[in-house]
Every structure is written in structure tokens, then in C-alpha cells.
Symmetry: C2
């Protein structure tokens, strides 16, 4: 797949958890070549520097005009790289999108509000002859699949990357695991479940939260069955969404039951006490141990814990890690700084177990 040059809009949100789509694109995409991030708040710096403290070779610029005159390949796409409350296309974004269309860029949008349903944007896009890609637009009903149980005939074992909260790195961990396994010759495919996964170039998956509820499990099964048929991988790693007990929208049981993932890598942020966005309500994240018990009741084993170190000083993280390793007896790593190589033996063993079980 030839990567197409793209600008990513992240205005005022790049250095916040709501810039997570932009973060994913900076960390890597097989679909787009990101030429610039637009965010006046951190303009002038390198995007990787802002994000992970390591240069990524992607400049942050103050506005679209600046992005259009950078050296290198001319951008073809403008990607909405932020999550807004309720997935709304806020006025400032709307103005930027119109400007991007005016500059001849196609729009890639993962918000709930679609650009195609916005009369002004739609008319401008027609006028300029550019494409609008709305990743959360629902498929028409006749194109949707119900769950049929075909998952039990899928050859490749499924590993789910779940988390104890949303926005703590499940997708990034999924990507790192997929890369690490492929490097050691285990042919591994990512099954994406959000729009950023698609943007990053994963070929099989769904945008889970934009599917009519009755079809979520069937569409997930359908994506996995298709991947198994087309690619015949040795392993699939399914990106989790939200968390099993997030009251704003629990998710994960679908991956364990309907996608029949028998292994779980559990992403956890020891420095985070409350569910993201619900700190003021005091909605406490349940313990790692009880999450593992819950996962077991769904028929899956947690084979590793991956830590997000945000809000957790290094010595405290080390203490957590040592404690979890002892009490749980499974690998515990911090993939963003260490990569996922250390998980290879445990995941290989999981693949072997699953193969010999079928």
C-alpha cells in the first residue's frame, strides 16, 4: 500500500488525551504519511517530541497555510485527529475543514457528525472534486451481518488487548504486539475496532461504536472470518474499546465471546484512579485482580499486563510492576517505552496452546 500524504488537525488538543487519533497517526500509519500536525498551542515543535519525548520527524504547525508550504510531498488528505465531546463537528473544526476542502484536500473524519451530512462541507467538496471519508457513517442494514458462530471455524487464535479504562493505550499496545510478533516470524494481523486503527492501515476490523447494536458481534465475526480466509495469519490481535466495566459504555465481552478470544493482554494505568472523564464523580477503576477474575468468567486467560506510566513516577511504576509480577505470575511490561518484544514468549506459548487445543 502506497502511503498517501496527509495533514492532521489537532487544534488545541494534541497534548491532551482527546488528541488520541493524532497520537496514533504520529506513532505510525501504514495508510497515511503524516506531513504535519496542526495545533497552534504546540506549533514549532516535533510531534513525536511533544507526544513521547522522541522526535518523529513530523512538524507541528500553527495553521493549514503553514502545512501546505512545507517541503516534501504535497498533502492529499486532511485528517480530523481529535475526539470531541459527543463526536460533534465543533465550529472551529468546521471552519478548518472548509478551508482544507478549499485547498483541495480530501477529508478523513472519525467523528460521529459526518462531513457528508454537513450541507456546506458537502457542497464545497463537490465543487472542488475532493473526497469525504466519514469513518463512523453506519453501513446500510442489508450490508450488516448477524453473528452466526462461524468464528469457531476460524483457524488463527485470537488475542484481545483489553484495558481497565478507555484512552490508556490499548490500540498502541495492539500495534506494538503485532509488529513484535511479525518480526519474529509469527504472521500476525491486527483486527481494529476504532477509526484510528483503519487510519493507521489495519485491513480488517470494524468501527465498533458506530454500528447498530444488534449487528456489532456479527460484524466483528465477519471481519475476523474474512481476515482468516484472505490472509491465513498465525495470530490475530484484536484492539479493545472502552473497558469491561466503564459505566459510560462497557465493552469487551464481544471480543471474548463473539470473537472467542481466549487470551487477553490487559492494559492498565496504575497512576489513574478514576475512569477518564469521570474524576469529579469519583468513579473508581476496579482493581487489576478483579478485572482478571472477570475476564476469566468470560472464558479467557490474561497472559500479560501492559502498563501505561502516565501519572506514575518511575519508582512507583517499578513497584507496581514487581508486585503484579509476583501476585499474577505473568509478564508485566510498559510497551510504550520498552516495546512489546518481552511479550513474545508468552504470546508464542498462547498460540501453541490454542493450536494444540483445536
Amino acid at each position: 500500500m502506497l502511503k498517501e500524504p496527509a495533514i492532521v488537525l489537532a487544534n488545541h488538543l494534541f497534548d491532551t488525551p482527546n488528541g488520541k487519533t493524532a497520537h496514533g497517526l504520529v506513532r505510525g500509519s501504514g495508510r497515511f504519511k503524516v506531513v504535519a500536525i496542526v495545533d497552534p498551542d504546540v506549533a514549532g515543535r516535533d510531534a513525536g517530541e511533544v507526544l513521547d519525548g522522541r522526535p518523529a520527524g513530523i512538524p507541528v504547525v500553527a495553521d493549514l497555510d503553514e502545512a501546505m508550504v512545507l517541503e516534501g510531498p504535497a498533502p492529499k488528505w486532511c485528517i480530523v485527529g481529535v475526539a470531541t465531546h459527543g463526536g460533534r463537528l465543533l465550529p472551529e473544526l468546521h471552519t478548518l475543514i472548509l478551508d482544507a476542502v478549499d485547498k483541495g484536500l480530501g477529508i478523513v473524519n472519525g467523528l460521529h457528525d459526518t462531513t457528508a451530512d454537513d450541507a456546506e462541507v458537502a457542497a464545497a467538496a463537490r465543487g472542488r472534486g475532493v473526497e469525504l471519508i466519514d469513518l463512523r457513517r453506519s453501513k446500510p442494514r442489508p450490508a450488516l451481518h448477524f453473528w452466526e458462530g462461524d468464528i469457531y471455524r476460524v483457524r488463527a487464535p485470537r488475542l484481545a488487548v483489553l484495558g481497565t479504562d478507555c484512552a490508556l493505550g490499548k490500540r498502541t499496545t495492539t500495534r506494538l504486539i503485532v509488529e513484535a510478533m511479525n518480526r519474529v516470524g509469527v504472521r500476525t494481523e491486527m483486527i481494529y475496532t476504532g477509526q484510528t486503527g483503519w487510519m493507521q492501515g489495519a485491513r480488517y476490523g470494524i468501527v465498533l461504536d458506530s454500528i447498530v447494536n444488534d449487528f456489532v458481534c456479527g460484524e466483528l465475526e465477519h471481519a475476523i472470518v474474512g481476515c482468516d480466509r484472505d490472509v491465513e495469519p498465525d495470530l490475530m490481535v484484536i484492539e479493545g474499546q472502552s473497558s469491561l466495566r466503564n459505566p459510560s459504555g462497557p465493552c469487551g465481552a464481544e471480543l471474548l465471546l463473539s470473537a472467542a478470544a481466549r487470551g487477553v493482554v490487559l492494559q492498565h494505568a496504575p497512576g489513574r484512579e478514576f475512569f477518564e472523564g469521570y474524576e469529579s464523580m469519583g468513579l473508581r477503576i476496579p482493581s487489576l485482580e478483579s478485572e482478571i477474575d472477570l475476564i476469566r468468567l468470560y472464558g479467557a486467560e490474561t497472559i500479560a499486563v501492559t502498563l501505561n506510566s502516565k501519572g506514575c513516577p518511575p519508582d512507583e511504576l517499578d513497584r507496581f510492576r514487581a508486585e503484579y509480577r509476583t501476585t499474577l505470575g505473568i509478564p508485566v511490561i510498559a510497551p510504550l517505552t520498552e516495546g512489546a518484544e518481552a511479550l513474545v514468549p508468552a504470546i508464542r506459548a498462547f498460540v501453541e496452546r490454542e493450536r494444540s487445543a483445536t
Copy 2:
């Protein structure tokens, strides 16, 4: 609410689990007065007799013509009373619906396929000036709510009726509990989560499986908040859908987390070994005990077990009941034959506990 006379289509499916919408309407509706069930396979009998072995005063007739000439109030509506695979509007149903429109009846349809999107039916309805009500038609995005946490300010405690499988009587048990509690002066509202609940006259709720996934929890919260504000009941009983571990579409966590139901009545069919519709795959229903453990991990207590006796001889049912009572230490009843009166003390105690906890 004045009940409107209706005919219910259940052709060839009335005496099967797929006739469950018709079953609910025979057992009771505050919205419609059912004047006849259409099903040639069991025509000539009383619908209650076929269903529960007790006459309901509702004749089963062979076709619509017969239904239109019965004594009593002239029917105004024709309700699609069956669930088809995938919620499709099958050819035979399509023909019957056209015939009903032609006879001047409005259509109430809970299938995924909408009648309004069927060009032929839509044109016929316009021509005859009758209404088409499609209960699973999705609301437009701007009308949908996200979960906000307002649930924690709702005064009335919530009790969820969950089950260990789908199609085993959750909705009927919900109705029986609501009626039993109201009879003893505990002002109780049903929160429906399927189209049949609405058909039966429940005022607050959602059609859960037809909502875009990201909005399911918010819409459920919104319905409950509205009920609390408008009616100020002493208790709400929320109808469950599917089951927590049904691989074809797990459901229930939303009720426990997003609707914050702290008490559960758990419906179980001891005579059923496999998930409905997946017998040939050998998908075994987990044990009652492990389901209760799972519910506990979601922060709720199971305060009673309600049994569906289908496929379970009376002496075996009695043995199950005695065993469950002993091991679980909570009431165990068979509501369809016994009513829900025996649950009143346990539910009253739950309401008291919840009140004193807030």
C-alpha cells in the same frame, strides 16, 4: 391510555419461541387490545390455551379475512408478532402486511427491516392513509444521548431482570414483578428495552438493539432519568436483553453499570442446556452460580432466581428449586405459573436497603 384493537400476525410461529412478541401481547398489553392472532397452524384454538394452557379470550384464526369479521371492536392495527432470522421482512409476511394495509389497518413492526423503507408497503400505506410504526427505526444522531452520569442522581432504585439466555421469559417476569409491586403499593415502573415492552404499554425505555452502539448507554440513562423526573416511582424494573455471556450478542452490563441497577432478578431455564438457536454448536449455558458471581463483579446482588419450566418435568423443577434455594439462600420461584407475589418481601427489602444507602 385507551387500548386500541389490534390483530397480531404470528403465521406458523405462534407455538415457537420466535412468536415471543405475540406471546407478550397475549399475556397482556396496556397499549393494544388483541382481538385475534393469525396463525393457520393453530387456528381454531384460544391463544392463551396454546401458549400457557389457560384461555386468554383471544382466538387464533387462519387468516386476516377471518380476523376482520370477528365480533367486537373493529381492529385498527396489524402487529408483526414474530421474530424472523435477521429481523427480515420475509415474502410471506410482506404479502400479509400489504393485505392488512389494503384492509385499512396501520402496521406496527418491530423487525429490523422497516415497512416504511419498503417501497410497495409505503406506497400502499400512503394510498390508504394508514400509519406505519417501525419500532426499530433508528433515531437520527442529533436526537441521541451520550451517557453523562445523571443516573447517580436518580432517586428510584433500579432492579434488573437478567437471564442466563435469550427468549426465556425476562420480559414477562419483569411485567409480573411490576404488577405485583404496584398491587402492594410500591409504585413501580417498567423500563422496557425491546419493542414488545413498548407494544405492551410501558412508557419509558429504549429498543436497545436498534441503537447505534455508542449511544446505547446514554439512551438507557436518558429514559430512566425521564421516568424518575416525570413519575417519581418508588422502584424501576429494567427488562434485560440476551444474556451477559451469550456469544451472539452479550448484553446486561449496560443495565448494571450504566443504569446502575444494584439488584438483579435472574431468570433461568434449568431444562435448557444450550444457548437458544445454537444447540447444534453445543454452546453451553454457564451455570447459575457462575452467572451470579459474574453479576457480583459488576457490583450487583442477585436477590432472587426465577425459573422457566420449559423442558423440565415438574419433579425435576422442584428438585432444582430446592437445590438453588439451599445453595443460594434467596427466593426461587416459577413466575409464569405462580406469579411474582412471593418476591415482594425480597424486593421490598432491596428498595429499603437502596434508600438507606443514599
